[in-house]
């Protein structure tokens, strides 16, 4: 009978936590609004790639007024003697001196003129004078001008000129059996990036919810009344499981939407098969989320038990979340070299594993033994942390009201206080 009674109280705490969070508009927005925005962006992008009317409206909003498509040049070096006939006529106009080129620029006949300096062979200097100063924008005909220059420097040898920057065409063959991702496809970077951010945000926000819920009840002294009827352990279990369930729902909705959109984009954008995450990814995602959440949520709960009020709680979080930030800081290394020593170490070390392993899984293939080992290590850590935090969650510590210090947190966690 007592067992059932204990369960009932835990469930009561659990239900209360879920209902409180669900009644917050900000949580509901994060839960549904963000996938919705993602889907909207996707629809807009799909429309853009099809070139519909809405797309042309958008592009007029972000584009310049049409400008002339003609550029000029002034050759002070005397290199250019002949212009190869492969260059279309009229796109690059030669001017005898800068004054006449400037006049043409100001009267709007050309958008830019290039001045090839007299010592071009030794210095390589070319000045581009632009009607609209925009050095990072694309130059329309600079490639043509460079070709003309190279052609003349090589005594009109067009064959050689075309090969200066390497082969015209490279036919590639991969001996690997796994589907290959292209290096220059944007998704090669952004897919793992998005996955990493998603895990980081969901684990962190679910764990922070726990911290604030514990600290808030401490701050407004509600905990003193609560502890009259429930034990600290019931309170802790109810809170951790309840908020964990919400986090799980959140991650399933987000990852699910992401996967549907990715699969959909396979047909809409002709996405290569290499970018479609396997179904096992979702399973690993759930496992690593749950374990990562268990570790971080318990640590946060422990923190919440020790701090006297909410403000000190938020200041102290950096102590706990620091290991979670490390993969975010090293994200480009992890994505570019998913199988380097650093990446493997970070994905095995339990505190950085939940985020890092998901980055690696989405960036490329990971040996199965590493994934399993990482999950086992993380599970062991989770058990240890949960047990030690349960010890910390005594009425004595919760109600003491002593000021928070890092030392106190660490010694209590290891059971010395």
């Amino acid at each position: 009978v007592t067992r059932v009674f204990i369960m009932k109280k835990t469930l009561l705490v659990l239900r209360h936590e879920i209902l409180t969070i669900l009644s917050r508009p900000s949580f509901l927005f994060a839960l549904f609004g963000i996938p919705f925005i993602g889907a909207m962006v996707f629809v807009v992008a799909a429309q853009l790639s099809k070139g519909s009317q809405a797309a042309s409206m958008l592009s007029t909003l972000v584009s310049n007024q049409p400008t002339v498509n003609v550029e000029g040049y002034v050759d002070q070096s005397g290199i250019i003697k002949t212009v190869p006939n492969t260059i279309p006529a009229g796109v690059l106009i030669a001017y005898p001196d800068e004054a006449s080129a400037l006049q043409a620029l100001q009267s709007g006949q050309i958008s830019t003129y290039y001045v090839i300096s007299a010592d071009y062979v030794s210095s390589g200097r070319i000045d581009a004078v632009q009607a609209t100063f925009n050095p990072l924008g694309s130059q329309k005909h600079f490639g043509d001008l460079q070709y003309i220059l190279n052609y003349n420097l090589l005594d009109n040898n067009s064959q050689l000129t075309l090969l200066i920057n390497g082969p015209k065409n490279v036919e590639v063959t991969s001996l690997s059996s796994a589907p290959q991702r292209e290096q220059n496809n944007m998704l090669t970077f952004f897919l793992p990036y998005a996955v990493t951010m998603l895990f980081y945000i969901v684990i962190l926000s679910a764990a922070s919810l726990l911290l604030s819920s514990v600290a808030k009840e401490k701050e407004n002294r509600m905990i003193e009344i609560l502890l009259l009827s429930v034990t600290p352990n019931q309170l802790l279990t109810g809170k951790i499981v309840g908020l964990g369930l919400l986090g799980l729902v959140q991650i399933i909705i987000w990852v699910g939407t992401g996967r549907i959109l990715l699969a959909e984009s396979g047909t809409t954008f002709n996405l290569p098969i290499a970018f479609q995450l396997p179904p096992s990814f979702l399973v690993w995602g759930v496992i690593f989320f749950l374990l990562g959440y268990a570790v971080y949520a318990s640590l946060m709960a422990g923190l919440g038990a020790l701090v006297p009020n909410l403000r000190e709680a938020t200041q102290a979080t950096i102590l706990v979340i620091f290991p979670l930030i490390i993969p975010i800081m090293l994200i480009s290394v992890l994505i570019n070299e998913p199988n380097s020593v650093l990446s493997v170490l970070l994905s095995l070390f339990p505190l950085t594993a939940p985020v890092t392993m998901m980055t690696r899984l989405s960036a490329g293939s990971v040996p199965l033994w590493q994934t399993i080992l990482s999950a086992v290590l993380l599970a062991a850590t989770a058990i240890l942390v949960v047990r030690s935090v349960a010890r910390m969650f005594h009425a004595q510590t919760i109600l003491s009201g002593q000021p928070f210090s890092r030392k106190l947190f660490i010694t209590t966690l290891f059971g010395k206080a």
């Binding site: 620029l105 100063f133 090589l154 090969l163 200066i164 390497g166 036919e171 063959t173 292209e182 090293l330």
Partner: protein, 400 residues
Amino acid sequence: MNKFFRIAWQEYSRHVFRKRFMLVLFAFPLMLAFIVGLVVVIVWMESNPTPVGYIDQSGFLAQAIPQPAPKWPERMVPMVPYSDPATAQADLLDGKLQAYYIIPNDYLQSGQVKEIYVNEPKGVASSQFNAFLSANLLVNVPADIAHRLQDGSHLFFQSTDKSRLASEEQFVNLILPFVAGILFIIAISTSSGYLLQAVVEEKENRTMEIMVTSVSPGQLMGGKTIADILVGITQLVVWGLFIVVILFFGKSYISFLSGITFPIKTLLILTLVMLPAFIMISGLMASIGATVTAASEGQQIMGLFTIPIWIPYIMIPVFIQNPNSPLALIMTLFPLTAPMTVAIRLGFSSIPTWQLITSILLLVLSAIGAVWLAGRAFRLGMLRYGQRLRWKEIFSPQQG
């Protein structure tokens, strides 16, 4: 006046002489150093020094010379000749090669090569192979011309009136106004964040009642505002000094830093834009602080204002591609997006004078409006508990 300064000093020292503030102050330069280090490590890691093999059927690589040495930290990738594809493939599968190329006998006419790999090599391997091919194609060309052909041109961009100059070597000149803008905005958010807290905090712990018995609301609010703005400026000055020190000492060691100029005109424009922006955002934050009853509530509303301030940051590619688009115009004029947009456009391209003047005027007007709003909200909300001050009450003429 004495009370005013005491409040200001109390507010200033409370924030600045604290471990956490000092940490943020010095963490920023450390973070910068960390990022630079990370970039070097990534380039170094990307240039995998495993050799690349080639099978030359055309014969022009019979007496091959190596490609020119790459710039540090990129590492040299050795090019190894093979006579038949079978050995090359065996070495590739052994991991002794990262890729190999087959150059057909009609290469000079067709310009076509074949590349075989297991996992696609990083861009460095193929760019060094291209440099290798072109170095060998140009053996018979005079050395200075060959060098120019391989090295390419150095473009220097100029505006029509020659007032602005940019090149690849002086790339830093382009980002400097942008970086200065970001620093300004971070300082603004720090100040306004504290300002938001400043009002709510005393309401939350009920010190407000005691405070207003000895100082006037104007003194209290004025002192706090000045102090919090000074906190932001302190941050700005320390970071600015740090950048100046780096530029001063780095010039002699790092070549791309030597061409840096920071025109007074740019600094002046930035100040003219940032000053009213500073007052406007601080005013808005103070009014939020005065209307809400708890600090956590204020933080949520603050987010609404922070998003538009940072939106232009995401739009940088759009501004670079099309600096004069209608979107750029709208964001330059809209007060909340103006500070960041102006900073970005000022560096990467140029802004027509009329847009700048209109934008500054609009910012000044919004700053005045925000200060008025803050004063009114503070007087009405100062001693109000439990119930949030509604916007309607602030604007209704009967109140205050």
